[in-house]
Amino acid sequence: MRPPQKLPALLFLLTLCLSIIQLAPITSAIAQSFPVTITDDAGRTITIQSEPQRIVSLSPSLTETLFALGLGDKVVGVTQYCDYPPEVKTLVEQGKITIIGGYTTPNVEIIIGLNPDLVLGHKLMGEDNLKALEDAGITVLVFEPEDIDGIYSQIERIGKATGKEEDATSLINAMKARIDAVKQKVSVVSEKVRVVQMCWLEPIWVSGGKTFINAAIEAAGGINVFSDTITGWATVSPETVIEADPDVIIYTSMGLTVSPDEVKEKIRELFGPTKAVQNDRVYLLIGDAASMLERSGPGIVDGIETLAKIFYPSLYGGRAPTVITERVVSLIRPGAGYTQEQVKAIQEAKRILTQEGDVEEAYTKLVEAGVISIQIKSIAESNPVYQKLIELYGENLERYPTLEGRIQLLYAMGLFEIKV
C-alpha cells in the first residue's frame, strides 16, 4: 500500500483547523497585560502602553506577519509592495488600508495622517524617516532579521507588541515543526542537490550566503553553490554558472514581462551544458512563489517545503511543476480521465478555496462540471457521523488523497466557508 501522501495544501489544513477551533467551545482569550517593553533591531528599547489598534507596516514581510497573527483588521497602512495575503489588495481597494509608499521610501506625512499607534518598519526605512515618526509621537519598532531565527524573533516581538503573544508562539511552533519535518524527510538523501538560484538574467544575479533564500535552500536539503564565495547577492558571468554545473536552477521573479517559456528558453540557451538544463531541472518561481522565499516572513516555510519538493521529487511523490506561481505547490494532478473543462473546474475550485474560502461555491463548481457525481448532503453537527469525520479528518484532511474528496468532505461537514 502506498503511504499516505503528504499533501501540500497546508494553508488549507491550517484554515480548516482554525474553522474547527471556532466550532469547538472557545477558550476565553487571556487578555495580555500592557504595558510591554520590547527591544527592536535598531537596539532601541520601546515601551508600548496599550494594545495597538491602528498599525502601519513598512515592509511586505511585516504585513504578512501581521496578517498571519490575525491582525489584518488593525492594519491601516502598508507599502505599495505588500501583496500577500491576497486580501491586502482587496482591503486597499476597499479603502480600509492606505498605501504609504515604498519600504525604503515611506511617505512620513501619509503615515502620520493615518494616526497610527504602532509602526513596524525595516531598517531600510532610513534614520531620517524613523526620527520624523518618533518626533510625531508615534511608536516605531524597527526590524532587520538576518536568518530564520531572526524571523522567529521578529514574529515573537510583533506578537508581544500587539497582544498576540500566544498566536505568535503557535505560529512559530508550527513553522518550526514544518521545517523540522522537511529536514527529517530530506535527511535520508545520500547526495545533496547542488543549486544555483538567480533572480535576473540581464545581468545574471545570483544569491550567495547570508540570504533568506540560501537559508531556505539549506533547510530544504540543498547546497547553494555560491554560498561560500558570495555574500548576499552578486552578478556572475554565464560561464561561472556553467563551471559550477548545478543540478537544479531556480529562477525567482516577482513578476515577468515576458512569458515563462521565454525565460526558460533563455536559461537553456545561457546554461546549455549544465546538468540542470540537460536534465530539465530548471524551475521558475513567479510572483507569490518568489516572494515567499525573498521575504523575511512566515512564508519562508512554504518556500522551504516547495524547494524540498523541487530538490527531491522521489521523496515527495512526484515532480513539482516547472513554473510555480502560488505558495502552496500541489503535486496532485487531476486524474487522467478528466476532460479539459473538468480540469479547469478543479483548478478554479482550488482557487476559490484558497483565495475566497468558499467551500460551497467550489463544491457547486465541481458538481456542475461533473467531477463530483455523488452529491452528499451536509451533516448536522449533532450527528455521530459528523463527530467521526472531525475525528478522522479534522487535523488530517490533508491526507485525503484528492482535492475533490476534500471539498466534498468539507461540504459534508457543513463548512461552507473557510476563513482564509
Partner: protein, 331 residues
C-alpha cells in the same frame, strides 16, 4: 590588441587552455569550409568559448576601438580636450531608448540583437538627428551650438530617464546595470550586426585622418588649403556619432575610454592624427579588452561592471602620463 583578445578568450571561471581556443577556432573553420573535422574539444569548453568568450572579447575590441576613434574625432572637431563620444547626447538618447525598452517590455528586436540594444540604437540616432537639426542653420553646423545643444538635450533626456526610473519598479535593476555598461550579455548576433558598421566607419575615418589635423587650424587656414571645412565637420560628426551609437547600444554607457585614450596617445605619440587616430583605435580596443578581463577575474565569482574598471585603471595611468609630460603637453 590580438594578444588582449586571445587572453580575454582564455581567461574565465572555466579553465581552458590556449590549445582549446585554437581547436575551437579550427573546428569552426573546418565546419565552415565543410571539411570533416575530427578535433576533440570538451563540449562544455567549446560551448563557453564559442558562445560567450569569442563574442565578448570581440565586442570589447570593437567597442573600445569605436569609442577611442570617435573620442579622438570629437576632440578635434570641437577643438576641445574635454569632448568625448557622448558629448552630443548619444549616450543619454541610447539610455532613454534602453529604459523605454526595459520598462515597456518592448519586443522589437532586429537582426538577432535584443530589444534593449535595438531601441537604444534608435534612441541614439533620434537624439543625434535632433541635436544636429538644432545646431544647423543654412546647411552649416555650428560647432558651438552643437556642443550646447548636445549638453542641454542630454540634461533633458537624463531628467526623462530619471522619471522613468522612478516608475520602473522591478525592472529598475536591468536599467542600472545597462547604464554601468558591460559585455556579459553579448552573443554572436551582436558581433555580426555591429562589426560591418563599426569597421566600415573606422576605415572611412582613418582614410580622412589627415583632415582632422586641418580642423585644428583656423577655418580660414583650412579654407586656403582647399578643404571644405563644413563638409568635413559634418562627415566626421556623422561617422563619429554613428559608431558611438552602435557601441553604446551594444554595451551600455562605458565611460572614460573615449575621453582619455586619445589623450594618452597624444602624450605618447604626438598630436598628428594620421598616427594618433590608428594608435588610439588600437589602444582603446586593447584597454577595454584588458579592463573587461580584469572585470571578470578581479573578485570571482562576482563580475564587476567594466565601466568602473576603465575608470579605476585608466584615470591613474592618465594622471601619471600627464604628470610626467606636464610641461610639453599641447593639445
Amino acid at each position: 590588441m590580438v594578444l588582449a583578445w586571445i587572453i580575454s578568450v582564455r581567461i574565465g571561471p572555466l579553465h581552458t587552455s590556449y590549445m582549446d581556443i585554437f581547436h575551437v577556432l579550427l573546428k569552426k573553420a573546418f565546419l565552415w569550409l565543410n571539411w570533416n573535422a575530427t578535433l576533440e574539444v570538451e563540449k562544455t569548453k567549446e560551448f563557453v568559448i564559442w558562445n560567450f568568450r569569442f563574442p565578448r572579447a570581440s565586442m570589447s575590441i570593437l567597442v573600445g576601438a569605436a569609442l577611442a576613434a570617435s573620442g579622438c574625432v570629437f576632440q578635434a572637431v570641437f577643438k576641445n580636450p574635454l569632448a568625448d563620444p557622448y558629448v552630443i547626447g548619444v549616450s543619454s538618447g541610447a539610455a532613454l531608448g534602453a529604459a523605454i525598452a526595459i520598462i515597456l517590455g518592448l519586443h522589437i528586436a532586429f537582426l538577432g540583437v535584443n530589444s534593449i540594444a535595438s531601441v537604444a540604437f534608435i534612441g541614439a540616432l533620434v537624439t543625434i538627428l535632433v541635436v544636429y537639426r538644432l545646431a544647423s542653420a543654412e546647411g552649416r553646423i555650428s560647432v558651438t551650438s552643437l556642443l550646447l545643444a548636445g549638453v542641454i538635450v542630454s540634461i533633458f533626456l537624463s531628467a526623462v530617464l530619471s522619471i522613468l526610473m522612478v516608475f520602473s519598479g522591478w525592472e529598475l535593476h536591468v536599467l542600472i546595470f545597462w547604464l554601468m555598461g558591460g559585455f556579459s550579455h553579448v552573443r554572436w548576433p551582436y558581433i555580426t550586426t555591429a562589426t560591418p558598421i563599426i569597421i566600415s566607419c573606422l576605415i572611412c575615418i582613418l582614410l580622412l585622418a589627415r583632415n582632422l589635423n586641418l580642423l585644428l587650424l583656423s577655418e580660414e587656414e583650412a579654407q586656403y588649403l582647399g578643404v571644405d571645412i563644413f563638409k568635413m565637420v559634418k562627415i566626421f560628426l556623422v561617422l563619429g556619432s554613428f559608431i558611438t551609437a552602435v557601441a553604446v547600444s551594444c554595451s551600455g554607457c562605458i565611460g572614460f575610454v573615449g575621453l582619455v585614450v586619445p589623450h594618452m596617445m597624444r602624450i605618447l605619440l604626438g598630436p598628428d592624427h594620421r598616427i594618433l587616430l590608428p594608435s588610439s583605435i588600437l589602444a582603446g580596443a586593447s584597454l577595454l579588452t584588458f579592463c573587461d578581463i580584469v572585470a571578470r577575474i578581479a573578485c570571482p565569482p562576482i563580475e564587476l561592471p567594466v565601466g568602473v574598471i576603465t575608470a579605476l585603471i585608466g584615470a591613474p595611468f592618465f594622471l601619471y602620463l600627464l604628470y610626467r609630460k606636464r610641461e610639453v603637453y599641447t593639445f
